[in-house]
Structures are given as structure tokens and as C-alpha cells.
Assembly symmetry: C2
Homo-oligomer: 586 residues x 2
Amino acid sequence: MKYLLHRVFNVGSFFPTLNMPQELEPDLVDAILHEVARMAEEVLAPLNQSGDSSGCRFESGRVLTPEGFKQAYDSFADGGWCGFTGAPDYGGQGMPKLLSVCLEEMLFAANSSFALYPLLTSGAALAIQAHGNPSLQASYLGSLYSGKFTGTMCLTEPQSGSDLGLLKTRAIPRQDDTYSIEGTKIFITGGEHDLTENIIHLVLARLPDSPAGVKGISMFLVPRQLLNENGTSGANNQVKCGSIEQKMGIKASATCVMNFEGSIGYLVGEPNQGLACMFTMMNYERLTMGSQGIGLSQYAYQVARDYALERRQGRSPIIDNSGSEDASLLADHPDIRRMLLTLRGNLMAGRALTFYTAMKLDVCKFSDDRDAIESATVLVDLLTPVVKAYCTDRGFEDCVSAQQVLGGYGYIKDWGLEQCVRDARIAQIYEGTNGIQALDLLGRKVVRNQGSSIRILVTEIEEFAARCKSHESLYRKASVLKRSTDELMSLTQHLVKLARSEPAAVGVAAVSYLNLLGTVTYGYMWLQILANANFDEEQINGENYLEGIRTAGEYYFDRMLSQVRFWTDTALAGLGPLLAMKSNQL
Amino acid sequence: MKYLLHRVFNVGSFFPTLNMPQELEPDLVDAILHEVARMAEEVLAPLNQSGDSSGCRFESGRVLTPEGFKQAYDSFADGGWCGFTGAPDYGGQGMPKLLSVCLEEMLFAANSSFALYPLLTSGAALAIQAHGNPSLQASYLGSLYSGKFTGTMCLTEPQSGSDLGLLKTRAIPRQDDTYSIEGTKIFITGGEHDLTENIIHLVLARLPDSPAGVKGISMFLVPRQLLNENGTSGANNQVKCGSIEQKMGIKASATCVMNFEGSIGYLVGEPNQGLACMFTMMNYERLTMGSQGIGLSQYAYQVARDYALERRQGRSPIIDNSGSEDASLLADHPDIRRMLLTLRGNLMAGRALTFYTAMKLDVCKFSDDRDAIESATVLVDLLTPVVKAYCTDRGFEDCVSAQQVLGGYGYIKDWGLEQCVRDARIAQIYEGTNGIQALDLLGRKVVRNQGSSIRILVTEIEEFAARCKSHESLYRKASVLKRSTDELMSLTQHLVKLARSEPAAVGVAAVSYLNLLGTVTYGYMWLQILANANFDEEQINGENYLEGIRTAGEYYFDRMLSQVRFWTDTALAGLGPLLAMKSNQL
């Protein structure tokens, strides 16, 4: 992280260009990272396996989190981490998203279930900060930032998942400018728990006579307990948890069925603008999910690497075995190296991509430069679905690969990697399935604007690649990357045209297109990483760290970037049978 | 299954060419399939989720299987299924492997944990039948076939997994031609349980003064209870279960640490030939694991398909929505179709490949034609690692895709697909990890014989493709398949040469090579499937079954076969950094 922040993305120059609440000198950045790491290692990681084993319990309407979670949460809140990116006016720390993704990645790596309680809270606070009226802000933000309250997003209903237009929860105006909320929401992360005295729900619901579909959705703030005049939590607000889900993973995160039975709600933002309000924070949340993929596979990588550096089986053809009776280290077997370097190739680039996208979000929020904001906005919109889907798909696959390195031990609970796989799986599903992300990318972010957004990104990549060509060690890589952007643009143009006559082409090509763009942007990140590595300087930590980066980068360009061709080949392949298929033939 | 058996592989002509213990008319084949299906649906499937939830329990040395397993096992054994492929001399039914893979796929689809108890027994019985002396056969085979006893394979030790040469368990000769077995085995499937009165372990161990490595391993039969003279189970034999593993999945299958504490063992086969004896049944077992991948993804496909045909979200661009306010079926969204057709493409071909390989095993066992046996042996050796690894890798991925079709519901236990994913994961690991399978394929089965085996398979494929070219509807597919075998052979020749100067190339290319061969053989299976479908005839079951097959086949050739290029491109890519990497750079 420090290497990327300081060397590749140069925060020492970047932060001063922003109009942030506080100065962030490089030393302070490092101090923050170390403090987060300490908390992740000492407070959260020790509860990861035990939390998975015991899970949350549901007892007569209340949810009990696993042993130790309450203390850990209090310690986390006391550290001020709940308000890390919050507005300083209400006690938030006003930190940039770039540091927040570091925090998030570490939380997910250490304890994904735990991470979701404060991270959903940040999302809710962000929406209130952006769209709530001053009175709502004054009443709730302070307690959300301090961790006294947590927050949730209540979107999904049994009949309404990917298609929010189908939601039925109603908001009936009362006489006092408040609303009576009635309906059932499902899959509500942290909908009920025992960590805090109050839980603040952001609920999507329909006002009477609102238009059908997504244009008739409004957002409401619905506290579990109504607030007393002095700001303390008071009377129950008819918000009831009906049950919690038994899930594949993230078992210590309570996934709740929430029943709103005439609960009092406060309108957030304008009527019928609920989806737009929700989407304010969607870019933040979806970026966060990318960090879950990176964090869990980072952890999985560490376990697999350590195992491969200790376990001896068979004789490697790579190293000199003469004079030794010992079996070789797993790490010296080519196929194990293939897995470890693939993880490395994805991890470093994936982390870089979350950092890169976070920086663009920071520009949008803190910059005074309108041109910079404009182009950053375009890139955030374009890259958010890529980070959400590509980083979580690779994250899951990489956890599976790391598990494979351990052989039979990978399947056993004690070793932790099977939990990684189960916990990583959800990130491909929630906050919009990865298929939905791909449709969002290709449909809304590419085809709808005739590829103008992607052209901005590709221009940036090509300019960077052109500059790298003057370095001998980067020439070939820059050339390969340029060829991949050529393929990307040529497919883009084809799809933009084709979509006019065949709208289904977007759905057919979406997942391939997202994978193609992900592979190319990872290549772009690797080129940036390699361009900023000065291999002559002394080793970092005495561990040949830079040489390791170079090897992993070589590997990415030699082996992994060739997926570009595959995704291009497959994008529209099978269009005929896909359209021809009839339901009764399945 | 019936379509493949009767139409594609034409068992009506095939079985009469074999010298089997009984005649198997097509009607009898169907009756057997229906009986297996009934048992799988009515007896085993109902225990699948409950078995997963409760798992096995370990209590003071004993293992308790989940509620209902004992009754289900008794009913399974009473049906004669434990001795399905067993030798009729000892009460086995002498059925061909071709029908056994049907049985196995259904067992795994219905209840993978349960399936392992009888399937490991079959493997043990097979080894005893092939290598045990008449006295051992007479004492044990009858009870294994009747299901009165179960069997295990005791290979793995804590320090010895993929590398069996490292195993330490000792066999010390006693005065009476028996041996005293001492050592600890781990990951022993069904090592201890409460289903039967006795458990027969086949244990790999070292005789005193035996050579180091795999050449000094012998196989011993070690019963949990010694047999009385009348064949009943008697005194304890110092075989102790130390604990059972907490695992990601197959939780109702007991995975045991087994301690042999001076247990009496009987030599099976010749001294120091233990590995060869074990490998007799390896081809059978590994083929069986392929059926686990197929079975679980078949089940997952059915759940995902049914969900997609019921759940409505969003508006599909494919179908005519005019005049309807309803959201479209998931099954009408292109990206959902992409997932379902990908499953279908793998499932049908994967099942066909297990059938095809089983038929070759049947030729080896039952044919009188020496030439046929010779070429079948070559193909079995070549295809076994492909079936084991490719079918289980695709099986796992396909379970994950099916889970994705269900969105959030896929992550919830009630819907069953998260269990499919967890249960399918083990098949990539046990019976030799899929990485080991790839090394076995490319190293032992291809490079070592200079590609002569693969040439036999490719010649068969190319001859078949050439015949198909005369059919208009198959011309393009046959041509594409021919190009893919060209790529396969050209890579093969390159690898055979390269391996002489760079032995590590085998390890670098192995997984890509296996995937390449898997993709090509699936294409071969699809061509056979399509060539045997007469699309003019009336619908089967009134469900447009044949049209569905045709669409899925089109899809395979249009979209999925293009992986050939990817696997060819990647086979040797990254060789440089893979070899250059140093452990301390990881």
C-alpha cells in the first residue's frame, strides 16, 4: 500500500492539489496505515474464525452478534474510524477516499463480516450528508460518525432485487411532515444487531400516486428508535427484524428481513428522487466491494505463500536438487508459481485500480479544478462497475486458487482459506450482481454515450504507454498494452453501432466487455507500477520487494494480459443461439 | 442420460460386443436408470441439506453420521447397489462402468456426502478383486458388495499428500504372514462411521528395508474388526479414529484422522507394488470424481433454470414486451441465457465424456478384442486426468454460475446452491489435485510417449469430423473442431521437443494443456451428440428436447470452443518470470 501510495500515485504531490479539511503529509499517511493495520491485526482478525463458527443468532426479534464483536466495535468506534471520511462539521475526520480504501481493504482482509457494520454506516451517512436536510444531518450524522449509531440501506424486497422498479414498500404522509413506512425489506446487512443503541435505516419506498417503476421511488430515514429531543434514542419505531438469513459466508454479519410496520420516516432528498439519492453513494459502496475482493484475496495470498514456502512435496524441475534428499518446496514447483504469480498479478493491479478510482472520487469531492472534476467524474462512472465486478470476480477466483495451493488443507476450516472463499463469494452478488455491473458498464457507461467516456480513459492509457516506450524495459509492455486498447476500442465501436439495430447485443457482450476492460486497466496499472519502480535502489525491507514486483509485472504482461484476445473473441460469440433459445428448451 | 446411452453411444450395439456376466437389453438399462433415479430422489436427496446442516459428529472415538443416513444406507445396500460393478463370483452384479457412472452422477447430484461411503467401498473392493489373494477375496468381497462392510483408501499422511513417496506408515512382519501396521493417516473418507459393523481399510505402508520413495510402498488390508472364523466381525484391531475434520463441504461425509496402532494387516499384491495396486483403481476413482462435478452442476443447473423460468426482473431486449406491464423472466435476459447455456454446454459434453471414458474401461475389462483393449487402455490413461480435472473444474465453476443466476438467494442456505458450490469444491482437490492431474497428463501421458497417445485420440476425432463434414448442418462445426485439433497437435509437438531441453516447461504448461484438451474433447463430444440428433423426429417428452440440445451445441461451437485459442496462447506464456522468480520475492 505504501509503495502504491507514495511511489506510484505520489500522494505527497496529489493531496496538496486538493482542498481537504486537513493536511496529509506522507508521514501522517503512513502513521494512519499502521494504526489501521494494528487494529485489523490485533482487534478484528482474532474474531474472524470464531465469528464465522458461531455466526449471528436471532432470538425473539433481537440479533446477537458473535462473542467479542461488541467490544471490538466499541474499540473501533473509539478510534474514530466510523467517521473516517465523514464531514468535520459533525465530527467526521474528513479523510479522502484514497485512505479509506486502504482502511476498507484491511478491514475486509481481517474480518469481512465485521467490516460491513461500519462500512454500511459510512454509506448511509454519505447519503444523509448529500441529501438530508440540515435538521436530519444535525440529528444523525454526529452519532453515525462517532459509531454510536449504525446505518443500513434498505433496498431489496422479495420480488424486487436487481429490478428496483418493482418495489412495493409504501410511505404514507402523516400530518407532521413525516411518513408512515410500511413494507418488508430483505437481505438488509446490519438491519438488526446488538452493537449500538440505535440503527438508522435508509429505506426506499413509494409515495402515494408516485409514478410506476424507478421514477416513483423516494428515500426515507427510518430510525429503529425515535430520537428524544436531547438526541438520545427513545421510543421504538415499529421497525422489526423478522429473521436473519443462514448464508454461505459472512456469517457474523447479520443479514436481516426487516418489517416496517407503520414506522415513522423522514424524507431524504426530493420526492421520487430516491434512486438518484441512493446512487450518490453507490459509487462509493461499489468501490468498497472491490476492496473486499482485494482484501480477502490478499489474505488468502499470504496464507498460500507462507504454506508454499514451508511445505515440501515432490521434486521440482526448476531448482538444483543435486545433493539433497529433501522434497522441494511447493513454491519451487512451476504450477504453484503459476497460481501465486496470478494472484500477485491481480492483487497489485486490483489494489492500484481501487486507489486510482478513489483518487478520482477525491478529485470530485475536494478539487477546485472544474476540468479535473469533469474528467474524474467520467472516469469514476466508467470504472466503478469494473472495480466492483472485476476485482470481486478475480478476488473470488484468487481465493479459490490460494485454497488450491494448500491442497486438502485448503478445504479444512482451521486453515481459514475455505472461509475466505465463502466470504469473497458475496461480493460478486451484493450491491448489484456482477452481471448487473456489466450491463451498467456497457449499456449506460459506454453505448449510451457512444463510447465517449471510454475514449477518455483509453487516451490517458495510450498517452502513458507512449511515454513508457522510451524506457527499454517497458517498450514491449507498452506496445502490448497499446494493442490491447486498440482491440478494446475496435470492439467498442462495433458494439456502439450494433446496439442500434440489435439491443440484445449489449446483454450478450456485457460480461466479456467488462472483463476485457478490467484486463486492460489492470495492464495500465501494472505499467504505472513498473514505470515507478526504480530497480537500482536498495531493497525495501531487505526482501527483494521491488524484484518481486518486477517479476509479477513481467508475468502479467506475458501471460495474463493475453486474456484480452479471449474476451474480445467471446464478446459477441454465440449471439445467434442466445437469441434463438426458447425457454422450453432449457 | 438415456439420450446419450441409446442415441449417441448406442448401448444396444455396444454391450453385445462385450463379454459381460449378463445381457443388458436397452429396456433393462432404462429400468436400472429409473430405479437409481427413484432412490436418488426419494431416499438420498431428502437427506442432503439436513446432512450438511448437522454434519458428522465425533464422540469418544466414534463417528456418528447425520440422522437418517443409517436407514438410507441400509436401503441402498438392500437394493444391491454397493456391489453394482462387483464380481458375480462374490455376489456382485457385474455391471459395466458405463452404467456405474450414471449411478455415480445421480448419487453425487442427490447427496455427495452419502455417495462417498459406497463409492469408496467400490474402489477398495476393486483393488482387492484385482490384487488380493483368493483367501482375502473370499473373506471380504462378499461383505463389501452386500454393503455389510464399507471400504476406505488410506494414502495421505500429514507430511505426504501429493508426494506419496514421503509416506512413513510402517508394516512390520509378524510370524503368521500378517503385518503389524503403525502410523497415522489423514483425510480418510469414511475412515470411521456408524453405518456398518465393519470397515475395511486399504493402507499404503512401508515394509522394513524397502526402497525409499514410491518404490518402497506396499498395500495392506486392515479391517477395523478382525473377522471371526465364520466371517462375522470380531475383535477390535487397534484401528482408531483420532478426530474428524471440519470442512467447507461434504459435511456428512466423515473425513478422518486414522491411527493404526499395531493393527493387523494383510498384504495385498506383491511387496513394494502398493502404488501400482492402488493405481489399478485410480482410473475408476478419478473418473468417478468427474461424475461428482457433473452431478452437482447438473443439480445446480436444474435449480437455476427453474428459478430463471419463474423469477421476473427488468425488461428483456430479446422478447416482445409490448402490451405487457410485467417484468421479463430472468431466462429471457441475454446474460442469464449466457450462464445457463454455458452450464448446458459443459454438462452435456462432460457427461458424454464420462460415458465415453467408461465405455473404454468396459472394453478393457470385458472385451475379447486385443486391439480394442489396447487402444481403449491408451485412451483411458489419457482421458482419466482430463475427466477428473476438467469435469470438476467446470463443475465447480458451473455451480458458482448457477448460484449467480439466483442472485442473493444463491447465497442463502435454503436454496441449496451454496451447498453445491461447497460440495463441488472438494472434487478439484481430492484423488490428486487438479494440478497434479495436469502434470500426470502432460508429463506421463503425453510427453513421455512423445505424444503417441494423444495422436490416437486426435486421429479418431479427425476421422469423425471428416465424416461429419458431409452434413450441411455440421460442416462448420467439424471444420472448427479440426482446427482445434491442429492447434492441439502443434502445441503437443512443441512441448514434446521443448521438454527435452527445459523440463520445467511441462509444469508451466500443464494446466493450460489439460484445459485445451478438455475443451477439444468436449467439442468432440458435442459433435457426436449433434451428429446423432435427428431433428426431424417428434419431440421427446413434448419439451423440444432435441431443439434445446441443438441450441446448446451451437452455443458450444460458437462461444465455448474458442477457449482453445486462449489455452494455446497461455500454455507457455510467462515461462521466463515463472522460472526467474525467487522465493524471497513472493
